[in-house]
Symmetry: C2
Subunit: 183 residues, 2 copies
DNA sequence: TCTGATATACTCACTCGGTAAGTACTACTT
DNA sequence: AAGTAGTACTTACCGAGTGAGTATATCAGA
């Protein structure tokens, strides 16, 4: 049985969308959430409490630092900084291929694109190249799986068939993106 | 903000894939899981324990009945029957449109198709018609959302753009499916 | 005949993401 | 003076999914 199970989808998380914002400048959890909602709201659907819980995890993993700013009579606010470990993690993630599934591309790839355009515009072309070959290979893998399917498995074949078509569409879409983001 | 959040994806559950098998004949949990893995393994990735937990929920909701067959010296086995309530729920679900997202189509729609072909082959055409109009409307909704997006939201536009393309691909795929399943 | 792999059938403990709702204070408005 | 919107963060809870465990049957090969 393939390792691609429903749970894997959940691993697509807006974690890096938050961490990446801190790569630019320190901020409050509140601001990070706002920024992600505005800039990438159609990419990640991120509730406020979810954002805070992710940030807490990042802090626990040592990727961000929470500086507690106590104010008299006001509840303490937290200013968040990215740590060197966080920086490294973010940069590594930026270089990581976004995997084959359409969802991953719509979410992870677009997010990478968003940050690379901001921080490392010279790396735009390599990013697209990588994604193109990745996607292409994934198409081939799925086609192989489809070919190996016993003839009677009509519905499994349909499902795989759709995924292949989707990926082809994605390839074409990638080219359009490159244009619209300007090489 | 749209109600389509990550959690919603989880609501796509192989529940009906299991219940629908019982519509045909009573069986053991074990058999149901086997059948789903073989026939729809590329559609749902269903672990055994997950299957049992879904079945337990269905029993709790009164949609299936568990008849405990105690055997001397052997651990009790459970034969599962669908109840009238379960029958009704399944039939209602069969008529429900599969929603707009590509995932939903690949999973829910294909599953409906699988059962309708088995139990009500005369309803194949209406099923496809419904899905086509559903998908079409969803495309229009997304295009509207895209048009209303402020000009500067490049990445949100990309994301929506891809979803639209995917849905167009899906429309074409639907026609191919109808052919391959035989009208 | 003993052994060990494989299939059948089911259970349990745990993790983790996600949500809804609440808290508490500020700042603008009417 | 009161209402409402914005800022910033916390908490309790739910349910899906995983992985590992239990117990028995069966059958092939040494």
């Amino acid at each position: 049985m393939s390792k691609l199970n429903l749970h894997h989808i959940g691993q697509l998380s807006p974690e890096m969308a938050l961490l990446g914002q801190l790569y630019g400048a320190p901020a409050h959890g509140y601001d990070l959430h706002r920024k992600v909602v505005v800039d990438l709201g159609q990419v990640w659907h991120l509730s406020q409490s979810q954002a805070y819980s992710i940030l807490k995890r990042l802090a626990f993993q040592g990727e961000i630092l929470m500086e507690e700013i106590t104010q008299e009579k006001l509840p303490p606010r937290q200013l968040l900084y990215i740590t060197p470990a966080g920086r490294q993690h973010f940069l590594e993630w930026l270089e990581t291929p976004s995997g084959g599934s359409t969802r991953a591309i719509r979410m992870e790839f677009v997010t990478r694109l968003y940050f690379i355009k901001q921080y490392f515009p010279e790396k735009l072309l390599p990013l697209f190249d990588l994604q193109r070959t990745e996607t292409f290979h994934h198409i081939q893998r799925l086609e192989k799986a489809c070919a190996e399917l016993p003839a009677e498995q009509v519905y499994n074949r349909m499902s795989l068939g759709l995924r292949v078509e989707q990926l082809r569409t994605t390839l074409a879409w990638l080219d359009k993106c490159l244009e619209s983001v300007g090489s």
